[in-house]
Subunit: 216 residues, 3 copies
């Protein structure tokens, strides 16, 4: 219940950031709705395709699709408001990220997959929406370059998995595992944004991009 | 029968536009065949993956793959003819678009999916080929910016669904539903091209692309 | 056994070329691992999704994922060594390409698919990793433009299929089919690199990119 409320907040916030990105590329309404949909429900879609977990969430529950398309179109009327309230959206987006990660991890656990794959499932759910948005809008995928975004999804997935697997003996149930992960994950993400935490960057320059016989 | 003839016309026309796009990027023959294939059968492939509808059409009927690869290579010999007869190809492509949409809608209906998902299935079948082509050729995806292309696919899907669902009492059978959708969809698409109809565009400029803490 | 050794060599070499490409785009460690993973295991993943062949290889065997992520990170410490030993990597990458193609062909044969689809399965396994790498790093997909890379995968797939299907009467078993394909495929690929063999290129210039009514 808590999780599905946060999920709907998350897809709405993601859809709105997707719509803004589409607006920066002067897309028409259909483009706005497509980018909003891919941003909001693309992560779960990629996860379900990778895991063979059918039917996809939005195929079984088409109203999610309606929510994100409406959120995308509404954003076209209040773009500057969304832009001005940027910080609010960073917060909503972060809540959504943790909710997505928990849901992704649970899908993996329900399918009986190995711990690493459950965490990867959390990660894919959390980040592939933004990655698809950036590919469709032809900009550098932010998640590959900056900030702790993927790391937060990874952390949330791992924490939720550990609490659900080993927590029972310490009195942890599903609700308390979800709430703890939400709180710590959100704090982690907000701190990363606030203090500019980031992973090391790998820069490689070669004066000669190999041309003829480039390794593939 | 009518539909499968139109389907083959459609994939051939799409493969030829894909090959031209590959030629604008100086691709080799393999690149031409890959882009032609993705353009022609990419939409149906994405639809089937999203819906979990296996085996894919071209896996079950590999001769479709042969047709589109041959069409791609033949295009390299008659590129300027294709380019000069641009208007003919707009027509063939439009017929293919409606045929793709009807087929996509039928796949959704045969799987017993909800009305909205049937129409989305029509839409995905109609537009994802061109979207993949543009991503592979690294150009702005046309379908997100210009003209009523996606809208035509949506309209054709919705019309076919409505005729098949509520038409029986008015004496509409499968053939007449298909033919009516083809005629009206084609007229809609041709009018959109002729009169330059388009959806509203959403342009959003911010002097400061948010950098550090961009919403994801 | 031989094949799985070569497979591991192949994914390691591919992961390292993926990491270098990520470094040219100044990605962070997560970006490096994601690009390394997509390059190394993206081809098999796309093949399995297209064929509906679940579970995916790395979902069933998560240690493959660990290998490629470690190889990606290690590459960040020895980038210039990798770059200097470019020729070694062309060789390892070529061995991997043939191993990937054989594995892809076998998956198709085990699923009882038609000969053409088995060869396409080899091709997809061989080339989609590099294609995904180039899309994520936003550079021209090399495989669509240069050298015989896809052709080698196609040739290796076709040769393996023919040896397994018609070779028995000539005393060819699985091991000898694998070894022959590896040797001839490797020789083909190395010759293509050495002598600069390539497919014809299709260049199409039109002074007027059609704008309003572009064929989709």
């Amino acid at each position: 219940m808590l999780l599905s409320t946060l999920y709907i907040i998350g897809i709405t916030a993601e859809a709105m950031t997707g719509a803004l990105a589409a607006g920066r590329r002067n897309m028409d309404w259909f483009g706005v709705m497509l980018v909003a949909s891919c941003t909001a429900i693309g992560g779960g879609t990629v996860r379900d395709i990778l895991l063979g977990h059918y039917p996809l969430g939005w195929v079984a529950n088409p109203h999610y699709l309606v929510i994100v398309c409406v959120a995308g179109i509404v954003t076209t009327w209040m773009a500057s408001w969304v832009h001005r309230n940027h910080k609010l959206f960073v917060g909503l987006d972060s809540l959504g990220l943790i909710a997505f990660s928990i849901i992704g991890c649970r899908v993996g656990m329900d399918m009986g997959l190995s711990p690493l794959i459950c965490v990867v499932s959390a990660l894919v759910t959390g980040i592939f929406g933004g990655l698809l948005r950036d590919l469709l809008c032809r900009r550098q995928p932010m998640v590959l370059h900056k900030e702790l975004y993927a790391s937060v999804a990874f952390f949330a997935g791992a924490m939720y998995w550990a609490l659900m697997t080993y927590g029972e003996q310490f009195g942890v149930n599903e609700t308390s595992a979800t709430i703890s992960t939400l709180i710590l994950g959100f704090a982690f993400r907000m701190s990363a944004v606030r203090f500019g935490w980031s992973l090391p960057v790998f820069s490689f320059e070669s004066d000669d991009e190999p041309q003829k016989a480039d390794v593939k």
